[in-house]
Symmetry: C2
Subunit: 350 residues, 2 copies
DNA sequence: CGATTCCATGGAATCGCTTCCATGGGTGAT
DNA sequence: ATCACCCATGGAAGCGATTCCATGGAATCG
């Protein structure tokens, strides 16, 4: 059992060594698993450490050995379920690799992102996983100049060559649009994310291409650029429904905006899935609890997080992992889940 | 602009001092805002630091000065919106006080909680905010023995005298039960949280007392003990509805269990708020988007987080802040929002 | 004008740990 | 029995900052 130390200050290696009757060097070797130790000293040191309730000082250790055993994870918004799950994925994998995770929340705000990155650099984290925003002009650039291992997750920054794990939004969006068309929707609106983020740009771009490919008319007034936050989803609904020929279906580029959109539709007395079709990017558990349930484009946040952390381990180890794209799939629910008249090929697929 | 250093290694104070043509001591004083510095050296050092893109090494600094500028926040589940918001609150306040926040996720698991606490102690955080579980026998006890500043948030551990900010669940539950009774519900079920957590125990206890106080019959088979996770909410529904005289209303002790409960009710073809009344503890934004919307007991997670962080600052400063209880309120929605026949006093309150 | 005070400064110790290097005893090979 | 080798060990040098203490020049006072 831990001894009667009053706990005034944490025990140091020196004290442990003294108590075990060995040198500091030997004590250090035992405690950090160095092979060149004898059974005898191993036992003595282990006992002393236990008795003194010894916890190595991570600061001192990393000051000397140049790595800290911590990694930083910077996400744009903890309250966004997608990123919360992503964080959980990173964390699980980090723990498995013996890393501690410092989670920072940029609040969809470049300044706060940079402030956090500075803090992470000061903490000398061994690597950083970041879902970046803006261009690489701020702290992201400094990170790279310092040769700190970095992995991008979910988002990227154009022109910055960093391994990334992202979602291939194309298959999910394709299926969604194909479903919508099959169900008779020709005027499809899009509530996009901020064009300062790669996902914001990319999903909008793919949407445009697919609309063209499926020969669906796209009016600029059926596009709304939001900021990935709930309020802008609500605003998007107002804008899109205020047009002369409003869309009959709307795709929203992330779940917080979708929440805002659903809320505003309710306020207008419209029910998504009945009076107007709504498809969300990101599949959040409560979407299926609405009545009718919401169709969504799903991709695994947890898997993305785990993957990013494994990649970061590679970068830290000096390797250069390839970027990865995880698939997205369309989850048809409510009216869209019913068989559509004009798409025999897809129905046969099941 | 930052100079042409290749960024091979981070600049050290020594290099800055050399470039500025002053001693290390002076450079240190300038950079840490010590008053005893001349205008001249202040300018020279600042310039040198900027040119070398100097970032003080937090490890070295805290090795010497015994505080690290980091605090730890340990929550049971990031994916639980309540705790995500709480984390956001803590983080905002921490940032405002110049602290960086290491967020740990215990996953509602005592072992993982203890593993994280060990890591935080190794990192020599200046303080810890924790929503604890279990008794104080594990790492929580060691934390205190080490005299590391600790604040409990949301939950507490009985017998451990640590400042805490918690929710007073009584007013919210009282209003909820009073509303339910006014609307003719006499058989009220309860899906409780794990009895290893203070909130799990407390909410159940208060529920019992209030049922007695309102002269409502309480059957043990209308109580289900879950684990604060979605699956147990679903299980709770099965158990409670499997009784010979099932409850007409159910209160669920947190939002993930509520999500599970709603989901299971759907699967059974029942709609909460219509076929059976359901009231959630924790008010999550999508509750109001269901049809009919879900009534809930609300308390502010963000405020709780901010409050906890302020309290932790007090503890770190050597003060002994008083524990605080934040109020809970009942948000009546759907059928429960309609005026009830038999409660004139409450209706008049508005 | 000489003495006291003040303040910016540099030298050097220190925080707790890791790790290089030299040492010495024990082992296996010849 | 002798030599080479191996391996556990201790001494000591840092890692990069902060901070105490002594110092010397300028400013202030009598």
């Amino acid at each position: 059992m831990p001894t009667s130390r009053t706990g005034q200050h944490a025990a140091t290696l020196k004290e442990v060594a003294a108590r075990a009757g060995v040198s500091q060097a030997t004590a250090s070797r035992v405690l950090s698993g160095h092979p060149a130790t004898s059974e005898a000293s191993r036992l003595r040191v282990a006992a002393a450490a236990r008795e003194l309730d010894f916890q190595p000082n991570a600061q001192a250790r990393s000051l000397r050995s140049a790595h800290t055993g911590t990694v930083g994870l910077l996400i744009p918004d903890v309250r966004n379920t997608f990123f919360a799950e992503l964080a959980q994925g990173v964390e699980q994998e980090a723990l498995a690799h013996g890393y501690v995770n410092i989670l920072g929340n940029a609040n969809e705000n470049v300044r706060q992102q940079d402030a956090y990155l500075e803090a992470l650099m000061r903490q000398r984290v061994d690597g950083v996983i970041i879902a970046p925003q803006g261009d690489g002009s701020g702290a992201v650039g400094r990170l790279l100049r310092r040769r700190i291992p970095v992995v991008f997750v979910d988002r990227t920054v154009t022109g910055i060559p960093v391994p990334a794990v992202t979602t291939d939004s194309e298959p999910g969006l394709r299926e969604a649009i194909s479903h919508l068309r099959a169900h008779g929707h020709h005027r499809i609106g899009f509530i996009a994310g901020p064009q300062t983020t790669s996902t914001g740009r990319e999903r909008l771009e793919i949407f445009r291409q697919l609309m063209a490919e499926y020969h669906l008319p796209l009016r600029e007034e059926h596009l709304f650029i939001g900021d990935f936050q709930p309020a802008s989803g609500a605003l998007g609904i107002d804008e899109l429904l205020g047009t002369t020929r409003p869309p009959t279906a709307i795709i929203s580029a992330d779940s917080p905006m979708t929440a805002g959109a659903v809320s505003r539709l309710h306020a207008r007395g419209l029910r998504p899935g009945r009076d107007i079709e709504l498809v969300a990017f990101d599949d959040i558990d409560w979407f299926s609890l609405l009545d009718p349930p919401l169709s969504a484009i799903a991709h695994s946040a947890t898997e993305m997080g785990r993957c990013a952390m494994r990649m970061l381990c590679d970068v830290i180890a000096g390797r250069t992992p390839n970027s990865r794209m995880l698939p997205s799939t369309f989850v048809a629910r409510g009216p869209l889940a019913a068989a559509a008249p004009a798409t025999p090929s897809e129905s046969e697929a099941y």
